[in-house]
């Protein structure tokens, strides 16, 4: 039994989707993060290995989840205590999901957002992770060739999740560092008009709140601008709120649902929320994503589509019990915020001491680091050159801004919640050494600069690099960097 390997003719009878680069893995970036995969850091076994800082995973509170599962053996329905419910759960295949599961998620959604808005369990549609939820909502809202506007910088996984099979386009709304990458109405209008001029139908706007990669939250005013713009143009607004439970500092988080509740004259049918437990609860392995739409037609359609990515009932049952435990969720959210806040503070303070500034942020599992002053020149090429040096010499895997479609070179996303304190210390130490060395050799670098920019670096396709995060797990270790950065 073996595979048929070679014949090219057979490759040709596959579909365009199977043979296209929609997955984004054939990028020059691919070689880069292999460095992490081939040489992963381990405090004892491989102290000189590459540290993974490209993975937005929340591992700071796994001990709490662990404890809860151990204390509630009946929840997993597979022990003597829970077996009475086994029959009903194992056989349950309704795409509405277990009623308790939906109720628990709706409640948790409200809680994670600070209680400012209520969520109706009847509007909860489950999907296979936020990845599946994004694709599902794109299928529901747009036809192939139609477009969504998206503020830059944005999470590169959207290029795959939102576009690959659906054929939907993403058009950038350009945001800039001078106003902290704020989404402004003029930028919105420009993006919209650009699309119109190219004869592309704009079907909606897709935003992340809290922002991935910025770690900032949208203020009430910006949200209003977005909602009213959507109303004015009769287009949809999809808010990806998967980091809403990670808001660890002021200003207080405002969900789009609050705006909808406050202003009854806005058309709710245009508002859709994507949520997931992967970040807030730190359980990406559970593959739980949610679409919450205020539009009945979308709820009904998305629910039917959810057959393509249902959550295992065993997992639904487990989560229904876990999230139904109010004491646990309260404690968990508070503790998670406390730990994130501390981690963020320690991390950014240490960077500050070596002269590295980060965009001021109050949420997320990462910060948006400004390394402009370390670039040889303000180009994407120079940014990637620096990124390569950081991977190969400093041995840190972080994600360059160009992969997030950032319009200005020199920004990097650094994740800080997927490691323990010691690993973070090691990472910071490496950064310090690197910066110090850089200061010593500024003169030497200046000479080198000419050499760097003369084109001898064969950077095949910077645009492709944007899709870095899209590699398949099958090709790399389960703990690879940017795969995970996904979702």
């Amino acid at each position: 039994m073996g595979l048929h390997v070679d014949d090219h003719s057979n490759y040709n009878v596959l579909s365009r989707i199977a043979t296209s680069d929609g997955h984004g893995e054939n990028s020059s970036y691919f070689d880069g993060w292999k460095a992490y995969d081939n040489d992963p850091f381990h405090p004892i076994d491989n102290p000189k290995g590459v540290i993974q800082m490209g993975l937005a995973e929340n591992q700071l509170c796994l001990d709490l989840t662990h404890q809860w599962i151990k204390q509630n053996p009946q929840a997993s329905i597979c022990t003597g205590e829970g077996v009475s419910e086994f029959k009903d759960v194992a056989n349950f295949q309704d795409y509405h999901g277990l009623p308790d599961f939906r109720k628990a998620i709706a409640r948790f959604m409200g809680k994670a957002r600070g209680g400012g808005a209520m969520f109706d369990p009847e509007r909860i549609v489950m999907s296979g992770g936020a990845t599946g939820a994004q694709e599902n909502i794109a299928f529901c809202l747009a036809n192939p060739g139609e477009a969504f506007l998206i503020p830059t910088p944005y999470y590169p996984g959207f290029d795959r999740d939102f576009r690959w099979r659906t054929g939907v386009q993403l058009l950038p709304i350009q945001c800039h560092s001078f106003n902290n990458f704020k989404i402004t109405e003029p930028a919105l209008v420009t993006a919209y008009q650009t699309a119109q001029r190219s004869n592309i139908t704009v079907k909606g706007i897709l935003v992340t709140n809290p922002s991935n990669p910025l770690g900032t939250t949208l203020d009430r005013e910006t949200l209003r601008t977005l909602v009213s713009f959507a109303n004015e143009k009769r287009i949809h607004l999809v808010c990806d709120e998967i980091f809403s439970g990670t808001v660890f500092d002021r200003p207080t988080y405002v969900s789009v649902s609050e705006i909808v509740e406050e202003e009854p004259y806005y058309d709710r049918d245009l508002i859709h929320i994507v949520y997931s437990l992967s970040k807030d609860l730190g359980v990406p392995g559970f593959r739980v994503g949610v679409i919450y739409s205020y539009n009945d037609a979308v709820v009904s359609c998305a629910r039917k589509m959810s057959s393509f990515g249902l959550v295992s009932t065993q997992t639904q049952h487990l989560l229904a019990s876990m999230l139904g435990d109010d004491d646990f969720t309260t404690k968990f959210l508070a503790e998670s915020r406390r730990r994130l806040s501390r981690r963020h503070k320690v991390f950014t303070a240490a960077l500050h001491r070596v002269g590295i500034k980060c965009l001021e942020s109050n949420a997320g599992l990462f910060c948006w680091m400004n390394l402009k002053h370390l670039l040889n020149e303000a180009t994407v090429e120079a940014e990637l050159e620096l990124w390569r040096v950081i991977i190969k010499e400093v041995k840190l895997n972080m994600s360059p801004g160009s992969s997030f479609h950032c319009s200005e070179p020199g920004w990097f996303r650094v994740c800080f919640a997927n490691m323990d304190d010691n690993t973070m210390e090691t990472a910071l130490k490496r950064i310090r050494t690197f910066v110090d060395r850089g200061n010593d050799t500024t003169a030497a670098q200046a000479k080198k600069k000419k050499k760097w920019s003369d084109g001898s670096l064969r950077l095949s396709l910077p645009r492709r690099i944007e899709e870095l995060s899209i590699m398949t797990p099958r090709l790399i270790s389960p703990h690879s960097p940017l795969v995970r950065a996904a979702t």
Binding site: N10, D267, N295, V298, I470
Partner: protein
Amino acid sequence: MSPTPSKKSADAAAAAATQARSSATGLGGGGGGAGMRLIVPLQGVVQGRGGLVLGTLIPCALFYFLQLYLRRNRSPPPTSPQPPAANGPDLPGIVRSSSRNFLSARGSSGHAAVSSRAASIARSGDSPYFVGTKKCSEDPYHPVDNPDGVIQLGLAENRLSLDLIGDWFARNVKDALLDEREGGLSISGLTTYQPFDGLVELKMAVAEFMGQVMQGSVSFDPSQIIMTSGATPALEILSFCLADAGNAFLVPSPYYPGYDRNIRWRAGIELIPVPCRGTDNFDLSIPALERAYNQAKMRGVKVRAVLFSNPSNPVGNLLHRETLRDILDFVTEKGIHVIVDEVFAGSIHGTEDFVSMAEVVNTDEFDRSRVHVVYGLSKDLSIPGFRIGLIYSFNEHVIAAASKLARFSSVSVPTQQLLISMLTDTKFITQYIKTNRERLRVMYALLVNGLKQLGVESVKSSGGFYCWMDMSKFMKSYSEKGELELWKEMLSVAKIHLTPGTACHCIEPGWFRLCFTTLTEKDVPVVLERIKRVVDNH
């Protein structure tokens, strides 16, 4: 493929044409006649001079211009009607247009804001399956609490051996979820990101299980497996890999109604039913395949694969080794793929042996890269809630593409871990497969014999959770309408929910699928008595 919402508002000509088109794909019924009614008289008008050519050309042109006219006169692109800066850009709180306005301005197509894919499915709620299932959930049968309730016989779900699986979990799974001894499973192995196409350990365990289910006739290579959350996404992912929107698959009919959703809906692939006959025991015939292939070719439709289930759903018969070989020859000659849905491979209750496509392709000199098998644990292990499906492909490009697409439909890790511990308990699995088959056999025999006594014949089958019964002699008229009337009578008088043959694209009216695995032995007489109510009426 499916008509866009804009056409909904078109007049009778458009409607007739649409209907004719959908009936060509086997969807609607009896619409072809309406199309002909329009064309034939027109042809008569011009017969004098142009004859056949003009007779077909003119109506086509008329129809085209009508479409053009309708499109032109539809509301202009949603952007232009409201001048963007009317109220000044900095007054976000001001209502520019409420949803009411929107609805009235654009008429019935107000919801055109959703995609046409969404709109097409929003209209599909009144199929027999949904109507029947709704009845079942509103008024479910219970032997004690609600003995007059509706019995669900339309769902291919196995409850016969669920107790075995439940017992196993109760006995063994104390530690499987969080096993701290011997460095077993840790919380980070459970909750963090894992490969989207399935844990290697699960693939190995499932490959082993599949081999066991097929009684060792073939061994499966874990590296050819892509795990997905159920067989539904497995089929969809394969479809996305093998065909572009607008291409077609040939599907011997009657076929499982779910294929329409799994394959046509989002992937946009056309399913062309290849009718099989009751007189042939609904066996697949190569000449019929050939005919359907040529007809599609003449229509300019590109056929990319043949898709069928084995054991067949809804009929329950098995494909013979020779037929499988013939199909392989056929797809090789045409240069297309073959997808075999083997989700019932382990649920055999007859004496015949099941032959997997993976086995046939292995024993002969066939081009394996065309062969793709879909499998899942929902049926054979009776755990549909757990959402475990898989693609088993011999084509490395398909495996590579599918492993990337699996991220949209991956299986929850705790569930994978549980399954790994269960599937690796070979002693239990062997016992389970044996017991399950025995129970299936008993139920099948009980039901089929009972039906026979009522004068209801069914196709002799060997696999699956259902029997395929011929009730044509109880219909008032030998037509699709007669069948649906009988189905309604079954639902309202006998209070049982069956799957009518038309839902499975069967071209002969009067066939019904009855799933017996949700019943207990005590329920069988109840079901038979209820069928008798209807039978006696005729």
